[in-house]
């Protein structure tokens, strides 16, 4: 292929195919370069100025998020955020979306999503300790969706199991809006045994740029641009933009990077993962952050395909590659070190002081542009916002459920795919490798201990996009607080957040309003409980034929458990234990799973969330757990009290006998800020005295799998075994 000339690119507006607008191209050629960019240069700008790399549409909104606390060591802007957890240790975490690649090539799309997020963690010098994921698909009714689900789950497992990191938590939800645009968000948590971390910078004149890891191929070219575009019937095959993963190489790379940073910190000045927009993004960001320039020689780049041109090499998103900045006197040590791990490591360039980004290929200077123009000069957009029409029309609507038979509704709810057990999927993930997992998937949070200490880390991924759709601000708050309740119910103190912001096209004013308002909701909730947002990513353009997904912010939260004796799970432990509901229940049916079951669609507004009360309940539960008053604790979420009670019985095959002032319908209400707890009978008065809020004594755990329920309307005795079977087998049946 002959490369188009700079003039052809301008005259034929070829830059448009790569995602640059006329005005952006104009800015580059007239203001920044004062000449026409050539083929390679235009490619570099198009990926670096994509939403995926530049956040040009979302930056203004993202600034609303709190990112400071007494624990924050590093926040947004690095490969991952870092929080101090005391004793000279820190926890490092980030989540990232891989939605578009997973839609066209589900196995590799999901696998490389996991691989990419792991690299973000070890590039900070941290040892990855756990993985989580949040997945959203269309309903499990046709073969195509089931194939997509199977392949995504297999890709996540295939990568995580092979590299040897436990997958300890996550969520899977099914709604119509994700049928053609599934969401695949992956999170990785790491541990840093030294609070002095490596920045992703390339500084110091004549210091060397070292390429480490897998060879560069043509996979993933323009992946970042592809991720910043929407799907339609007409262009649903963009498979060449999807990367192919090799977890075996990543395992070697991970072990080598963690070891070199730990044992030889003086050798490495900076390190960064080659993720989205591969070589260009990593090197340009490193140089720009340090105020340096760079010269790269592409002839040195390890290649697995022949005759690749500069454009292809710079834009390739081949996986399992890292960039290091190394002092010349240590370069031989560094190359030798990686050779021992049987990894390619070569010097591909050096740091300069002129702030220019220069690339040579086959002895030709193919790029010569200001490095900051790639990272800093991206225009920032102030998008138009309009409140969605549905919110105005439906603001006074209240869904009123109709319960003919409590038992029937109860069992029906347990079988709903959003509520039923997801074990069918998560049992294909190795959740125990590394022998540190204290709480496996299935409880409120995954919990991993820190070997050699009394500490453990609790982690969870939460997003209920149904609420965000009905009211983005309140829905954003709920996403954070539900995650926090999951951490608190596990015995942890919420300390920080990472997020994936999955939305529709930001050029659509309604979609942008949803983004803005839900971020405000997230920000206000995070401020309330002092959980700064220290990392994350934005995935816009999640649309199919111009119909957007529900606004779907995913909150990844990390909590610190200071003493592993405080680790708490949701399952009832013993018969005769007392069951309490903490928090008042109201008629919160808009956005509920019951509304979807009975009405078939979402409608109405959400009640405002009382953040003071929410925080009070979290604080009280934490105190009760640390005073060893609580034997089991479960956050109430989809399906309300009925589902929480049921889920608590299944693990130990117990039952319950309760009497409540709630109506039968309210058993399924999804009022926020509530917990279900059990306590030993002897702690009754201590517990009741501590709980300075609304609590209701419900009844007792019983030794047989029976649900004996008296509501304000009726008394029902149900078989717990039947309920368990419904809940456990629903997904497996649907996947057949």
């Amino acid at each position: 292929m002959t490369e188009p000339t700079a003039k052809q690119i301008k005259d034929e507006k070829l830059y448009q195919q790569w995602g640059l607008t006329d005005s952006e191209y104009e800015l580059i050629s007239t203001k920044i370069l004062k000449r026409l960019p050539n083929y390679t240069e235009t490619g570099l700008y198009s990926v670096m100025w994509s939403e995926h790399c530049s956040y040009k549409n979302s930056k203004k909104v993202l600034r609303k998020m709190p990112n400071k606390s007494e624990r924050v060591i590093a926040g947004p802007g690095e490969d991952a955020g870092i929080l101090d957890i005391g004793d000279n240790q820190a926890v490092v975490f980030k989540a990232e979306s891989h939605n578009h690649p997973s839609a066209v090539e589900p196995y590799q799309g999901a696998a490389t999503g996991v691989g990419g997020i792991i690299r973000d963690i070890f590039s900070m010098g941290a040892q990855p300790i756990a993985l989580l994921n949040s997945l959203k698909f269309g309903p499990l009714k046709d073969g195509q969706t089931k194939h997509l689900v199977n392949e995504v789950v297999a890709g996540i497992g295939g990568y995580g199991n092979c590299i040897g990191l436990p997958t300890v938590g996550g969520e899977i939800a099914f709604e119509d809006c994700y049928e053609h645009n599934p969401l695949v968000n992956a999170m990785c948590v790491g541990l840093l045994n030294n609070t002095d971390f490596k920045h992703g910078t390339a500084s110091g004149d004549k210091n060397l740029i070292v390429y480490v890891g897998a060879k560069t191929g043509r996979d993933g070219i323009h992946g970042a641009t592809f991720a910043s575009d929407e799907f339609t019937d007409k262009k649903n095959k963009q498979r060449s933009a999807v990367q192919v993963g090799n977890p075996f190489i990543e395992k070697l790379l991970m072990d080598a990077c963690v070891e070199i940073i730990e044992k030889h910190p003086e050798w490495i000045l900076g390190i960064q993962d080659m993720g989205a927009a591969g070589l260009v993004s990593s090197t340009a960001e490193m140089a720009s952050k340090a105020g340096s320039g760079l010269i790269l020689n592409l002839d040195k780049v390890p290649q697995r395909e022949t005759e690749m041109n500069a454009y292809e090499m710079m834009l390739s998103e081949s996986q399992e590659r890292m960039v290091l900045c190394v002092k010349p006197e240590f370069v031989d040590n560094v190359l030798e070190f990686f050779k021992h791990f049987e990894l390619d490591a070569v010097v591909i360039g050096q740091v300069t002081t002129d702030k220019q980004y220069k690339i040579y290929h086959q002895y030709q200077l193919v790029t010569d542009i200001p490095v900051d123009s790639l990272t800093e000069d991206v225009p920032e957009y102030d998008r138009e916002e309009i409140q969605p029409q549905r919110m105005i029309e439906d603001k006074d609507y209240q869904f009123v459920p109709d319960i003919d038979s409590l038992e029937e509704t109860w069992n029906e709810m347990l079988q709903r795919p959003n509520i039923a057990s997801k074990k069918h999927f998560y049992q294909t993930y190795d959740s125990q490798v590394k022998a540190n997992t204290l709480v496996r998937p299935g409880s409120d949070s995954g919990v991993v201990r820190i070997r050699g200490t009394k500490k453990a880390i609790a982690m969870t991924n939460d997003s209920n996009s149904k609420y965000v759709y009905l009211n983005p601000f309140v829905g954003g708050q709920i996403a954070v607080m539900e995650a926090a309740r999951n951490i608190v119910a596990s015995g942890g103190e919420p300390i920080g957040v990472t997020d994936c912001l999955n939305y529709g096209n930001p050029e659509n004013p309604e979609a942008f309003w949803e983004l803005d308002k839900s971020v405000e909701g997230i920000a206000s909730a995070c401020e309330k409980i002092n959980t700064p947002v220290i990392s994350g990513n934005v995935s816009l353009y999640n649309e199919y034929n111009d119909v957007a997904i529900y606004p779907s912010p995913m909150v990844g939260m990390v909590g610190l458990i200071s003493d592993i004796d405080n680790v708490t799970t949701n399952d009832f432990k013993e018969s005769e234990d007392l069951i309490y509901l903490v928090g008042q229940t109201q008629d919160d049916f808009n956005g509920s799973e019951l509304q979807m079951a009975q009405f078939g669609k979402l409608k109405g507004n959400l009640r405002n969330l009382d953040l003071d009360q929410e925080k009070l309940h979290q604080d009280l539960i934490r105190q009760a757990i640390s005073q060893k008053l609580i034997k089991s604790c479960h956050d109430l979420s989809e399906g309300g009290l009925a589902v929480a009670l049921s889920e608590s019985t299944f693990e130990n095959e117990l039952g319950f006998e309760i009497k409540t002032g709630l109506s039968s319908a309210q058993m399924f209400s999804e009022t926020q800020s509530r917990f279900l707890v059990t306590i030993a009978p002897e702690n009754k008065s201590a517990f009741e005295k501590l709980m300075t809020t609304d609590i209701e004594y419900l009844g007792k755990v019983i030794a047989t799998p029976e649900f004996k329920v008296t509501t304000a309307n009726e008394s029902v005795e149900m078989s717990g075994s039947v309920a368990a079977k419904n809940w456990k087998e629903a997904i497996t049946c649907l996947m057949k």
Partner: protein, 224 residues
């Protein structure tokens, strides 16, 4: 006793085994690189789980060509203790040090779960601390753990009491529920379940601890 944990590229349960020996039974343990030439000075060899060389061709198929392997063979032939867990079991069958093969699970998926095993033979170097037919809970995590052998091999295994562990429920479709077998001399054990993940109650089970203690018991007896 001094144990070697062999570290192949792609092994990922090496540290779990290392800690099981160091903290669980408080014995000496070292990681040994796959390029090492000698196992001199070690009393037992442990081959960990993971995905050696990515397991892209067939589980364990590439690992058998690593330099350390001829020392493992020597070790086994001299009657010393060799334990292969998960990928380690796959490597031992690839090497022919153990009979049979591990193929894809019956349900064609990876499974991670804590399962109940029956101790079928409690008179080996690895199981003397258990009682006969004791039921123990040990995690599994594998995609290719379905034990297969032909009828002739099976009758030999049975005749020689080489079957050590059986799954209570046949989780992966193994022949005769087999979860772990020894060689004829009973100094080499391969098993798919992970006893090194069942060393502490807080991790869900400490039923794996007795396996490592059994090795010590055995060695003490041999030395006396």
């Amino acid at each position: 006793m001094k144990f070697a944990v062999i570290n192949f590229p792609g092994s990922n349960c090496d540290m779990d085994l290392y800690y099981a020996v160091r903290d669980g039974i408080e014995q000496q343990v070292e990681l040994v690189d796959y390029r090492a030439q000698s196992l001199e000075g070690f009393d037992g060899v442990l081959i960990p789980g993971g995905f050696s060389y990515g397991d892209y061709l067939r589980s364990g198929a590439i690992a058998v060509h690593a330099p350390i392997v001829k020392e493992i063979i020597r070790f086994a032939n001299e009657g010393k203790i060799v334990l292969g867990i998960c990928n380690g079991f796959q490597i031992l069958t690839e090497l022919g040090l153990l009979p049979g093969a591990l193929i894809q699970n019956g349900q064609s998926r990876f499974i991670c779960e804590t399962v109940a095993l029956r101790v079928v033979n409690n008179e080996t170097a690895f199981t003397n601390g258990y009682s006969k037919n004791e039921i123990i809970n040990i995690p599994i995590a594998h995609g290719e753990g379905r034990y297969y052998c032909d009828d002739k091999t099976l009758s030999e295994l049975e005749a020689n009491n080489q079957i050590v562990f059986k799954y209570l429920e046949n989780v992966n479709g193994s022949v005769e529920h087999i979860a772990g077998v020894t060689n004829k001399q009973k100094n080499v054990l391969g098993m798919m379940p992970h006893p090194e993940r069942a060393i502490e109650k807080i991790l869900g089970s400490d039923d794996g601890l007795k396996l490592f203690q059994s090795i010590i018991n055995y060695q003490v007896k041999v030395n006396n």
